[in-house]
């Protein structure tokens, strides 16, 4: 490791050592270091869930680390709030939009430090002027008096960047800043970042787009599963494949599921050129009976939106849905369940999957109450228990009693409860969205075995996951989505290296199509 840390002469503006942060059930960061020097652009990369966001939240004072130190310019800091971090000279462009929708562009840009006159009166003219300056620098024409809620996503992102720039922070963090920018806007941003770097600003750049990282970053830190896979490596010493290998790591302990060819099985669910108002565009896919069809893509690729379209949670704009070979019109989740026996296990088990304040019993029984009730709407006492108990024992949910509040269970057991609900409902098609996020290895393994077993029993499963090893292990075929469209469908050879390579190629071919490259003259250092 020491060979790779060739400490340049520049001072370290930000230094994190031995950072540890645990959440109930998850160790998000385990002994992570990060060194950021003035006058460099440092990439922070890693897969979804690797701990990047948690690390950023620690740097900006949103979270406190359980262990470890944060130094700014060599001085030990203990940020209690985002304001503390701001005052220490750290600015951030957030991934999730952090603007106030009803405020004007100018009000948002100058929110942290509004220009004042006579000590306390907000100087609107100067507010406008300053905002215009930063927007001009970004080469974007936005009326500073417009409320932010009227802007496109790309423009909001630019306003967010202008806001961070206006603080003239010496340390600038950018979390996926280019996610919705055009190539030209990206190029302009990169030009600005390079000028800032040359002026001595320390920049931390978080992105999934590897081309961008190689285009403007000097050094890189790679996170994997809450630990650093590479610390402060010079990017000139790495090529793209090496970086991908560092991010993904070797395949985990994999249960060996055999290869199946289910292409001749009857189609259980078919999407024909489906476009929905939630974003998915022209999606066509076939899920065969008893098959596990993987749906892979980066966050924001539109996978969950495909699921929500299937269950009627968002309306279909065009295209056709077929269930068991018949055209299906699904208006809401109730119809999906009652008429077509389709269930959706949400990726957000706490906000969409479960009622945390209710018992295990109620949570699982929710989908079968209709069936348990007699004509008068009466539910026999005890009928719920006998409907629920078999699934609780089959999934080995660890709970003292069925009356236990679901909110008191561990993440893994909560996930099992939200799955049990759909097994009890006797669905024939199940959409499972990110089933193992934030779940310990053992439970993850149990869930994989269960999903496999269910498909062998004839359940057709659409598996959405950002976890590449999980995908390669479980799916019979893998559909890859990029930017709300299909990038391709791959038969799964179950060879991890081969599959991850193929998937990444599909993603990056779509993400950086030829002809939209960043103009080289903007990327060359001055």
């Amino acid at each position: 490791m020491s060979a790779t840390i060739q400490a340049p002469a520049r001072t370290s503006a930000l230094e994190l050592r031995g950072i540890r942060k645990a959440f109930p059930g998850v160790l998000a960061l385990d002994d992570v270091d990060l060194v950021l020097r003035s006058g460099e652009i440092h990439a922070l990369v890693g897969e979804n869930g690797a701990g990047k966001s948690t690390l950023l939240k620690i740097i900006t004072g949103i979270y406190r680390p359980d262990e470890g130190t944060v130094k700014v310019d060599g001085v030990l800091q203990s940020f209690g709030s985002p304001r503390d971090a701001l005052q220490a000279g750290i600015g951030i462009v957030h991934q999730e939009r952090n603007l106030i929708p009803r405020f004007s562009v100018a009000e948002n840009i100058t929110l942290e430090q509004p220009p004042v006159r006579n000590g306390q009166w907000v100087d609107r003219a100067r507010m406008r002027q300053e905002s215009e300056r930063w927007l001009e620098l970004l080469e974007v024409s936005i009326d500073p008096d417009q409320p932010v809620e009227n802007l496109s996503v790309a423009h909001r992102q630019l306003v967010e960047i202008a806001k961070a720039l206006s603080l003239r922070s010496r340390i600038l963090l950018l979390d996926e800043p280019t996610a919705s920018l055009t190539p030209h806007e990206t190029a302009v941003l990169f030009d600005i970042l390079k000028r800032l770097r040359d002026e001595g600003v320390a920049i931390l750049f978080v992105s999934h787009k590897l081309e961008e990282i190689f285009a403007i970053c000097d050094r890189v830190t790679v996170l994997r599963d809450g630990k650093e896979a590479a610390l402060d490596r010079g990017l000139e010493t790495l090529d793209r494949d090496e970086l991908v290998t560092l991010m993904i790591g070797r395949a985990e302990q994999v249960s060996d599921f055999q290869q199946r060819d289910l292409n001749d099985a009857l189609p259980a669910l078919e999407l024909r050129n489906v476009t929905s108002s939630a974003g998915p565009t022209d999606i066509s896919l076939i899920l065969h009976t008893g098959e596990i069809l993987g749906l892979y893509g980066l966050v924001g690729a539109g996978r969950t939106e495909v699921a929500r379209t299937i269950i009627g949670d968002v309306p279909l704009l065009s295209g056709e849905l077929m269930v068991d070979g018949q055209p299906a019109r699904i208006g809401d989740a109730r119809e999906a369940l009652e008429r077509y026996r389709i269930g959706y296990v949400s990726e957000n088990r706490q906000t969409e999957g479960l009622i945390l304040s209710h018992s295990v019993l109620s949570n699982v029984a929710m989908t079968v109450w209709d069936r348990l009730a007699n004509m008068l709407g009466w539910i026999q006492s005890g009928s719920e228990r006998s409907a629920v108990a078999p699934f609780i024992s089959r999934l080995q949910v660890k709970t003292p009693t069925l009356e236990q509040q679901v909110g008191n269970l561990s993440g893994g057991n909560q996930q099992k409860v939200s799955l049990a609900k759909w097994l009890a409902a006797e669905t024939s098609i199940l959409i499972i969205d990110e089933p193992t996020v934030g779940i310990d290895v053992k439970t993850k393994h149990e869930l994989h075995e269960l999903i496999w077993e269910l498909s062998n029993q004839g359940l057709s499963i659409l598996l959405i996951s950002s976890d590449m090893p999980e995908m390669v292990q479980l799916a019979d075929r893998i559909v890859v989505m990029v930017d709300r469209r299909l990038a391709g469908t791959l038969p799964n050879s179950r060879d991890y290296d081969e599959m991850s390579q193929k998937i990444m190629e599909l993603i990056h071919r779509r993400a950086d199509p030829p002809g939209t490259e960043i103009p080289p003259e903007l990327l060359s250092a001055q």
Binding site: A336, E338, T351, S357, M366, G407
Partner: protein
């Protein structure tokens, strides 16, 4: 709190029982009764009990009207206005139109259903919070109440109806029978029926309920209708007890409608329906009222006390929620 930490080792039933607020509420009611007996032996008189119970008979139904809506995480500011409107309409049908009592009552309840439908449909169709919708409809209903008969009461109500309202067996007023039936029906609703469970699920997490195939909007409309019907029942028995249909009926219901469920420990975020506790809390608040009267304290202090009790109860609930969250994150 210690009960909660020990309980996972016990059986679920014991845990559920020991952790229930009703033990505490019942204890306080008993202690207060003993205290009042010592202070004022008249407290134990049959007549005093009658007075106590006939008050509770009305306020408990009013509290249930609010509870229904609190269960789904909404607020209903029109409980009193609905009651007033139903009272004046029903009284008018009896006096002006000379309709039989039962027919008038049935029509009065239908007006309640209409008021509930208005609240429910406006809330679900517009997506505006029920707080704002019922603030507006409360004003509209009150306008109807006052406009219909120039804010004048109706006195000429059928004899048997008024006899029912004022009659009693020993300390038990007849109207308390209505309240008891309402309480039992609501308990059955939440313990034993599909609808009750769906209401609780919508209150606990509307999004999870929707994705599990529950028709959230339909449930919300039903809840607002039940709430308005309960307000109407409260108004109809109060009219019988007073022997007249006053336009002021319901004008003082809002505060107790919130205070009683809150003292009963309802989660303002929705998802639980403490039917038994709400009955106990209604007793508790009636006892405080009664105690102030018996001890000849200034009756205006009841208002102050109610406020203090709401704050105290909310504070206690909050404290417990915070501690439970801490415990959950430790385990």
């Amino acid at each position: 709190m210690r009960v909660a930490t020990l309980s996972p080792h016990r059986s679920g039933r014991v845990y559920a029982l020991a952790n229930r607020e009703w033990v505490w509420l019942a204890g306080i009611v008993v202690l207060m009764s003993i205290g009042l007996t010592i202070l004022e032996p008249n407290f134990l008189s049959q007549f005093n009990f009658y007075v106590l119970l006939r008050g509770i008979a009305v306020t408990l139904i009013v509290a249930y009207a609010q509870l229904m809506v609190l269960v789904v995480g909404q607020l209903n500011l029109s409980v009193g206005a609905t009651g007033g409107m139903v009272a004046i309409c029903t009284g008018g049908m009896m006096e002006v139109w000379g309709l039989p009592a039962l027919v008038s009552i049935a029509l009065g309840l239908l007006i309640g259903v209409a008021a509930g439908l208005a609240n429910g449909l406006l809330t679900t169709r517009t997506g505006i919070n029920g707080f704002i919708i019922t603030l507006a409809t409360a004003s509209a209903f009150t306008g109807i109440t006052i406009g219909l008969n120039d804010a004048k009461p109706y006195y000429d109500l059928p004899n048997r109806y008024v006899e029912f309202g004022q009659g009693r067996i020993g300390p038990f007023p007849y109207i308390a029978i209505v309240t008891a039936i309402v309480g039992v029906l609501l308990w059955v609703l939440f313990e034993r029926t599909l609808l009750g469970r769906q209401i609780l699920a919508v209150g606990g997490n509307p999004r999870a309920a929707e994705l599990s195939g529950i028709q959230v909007h339909r449930i919300l409309v039903i809840v607002f209708v039940i709430s308005a019907v309960l307000s109407s029942i409260a108004a109809i028995i109060l009219m019988a007890r007073l022997g007249s249909a006053q336009p002021s009926i319901g004008s003082d219901w809002l505060l107790p409608s919130f205070a009683i469920p809150i003292v009963a420990g309802i989660a303002l975020s929705g998802g639980n329906a403490p039917i038994v506790n709400t009955a106990l809390a209604a007793f508790l608040i009636a006892l405080i009222d009664n105690g102030l009267v018996l001890t000849k304290a200034d009756p205006y202090w009841i208002q102050f006390l109610l406020g203090a009790i709401i704050l105290g109860a909310v504070g206690l609930n909050r404290l417990r929620a915070v501690r439970e969250a801490k415990q959950a994150s430790l385990s």
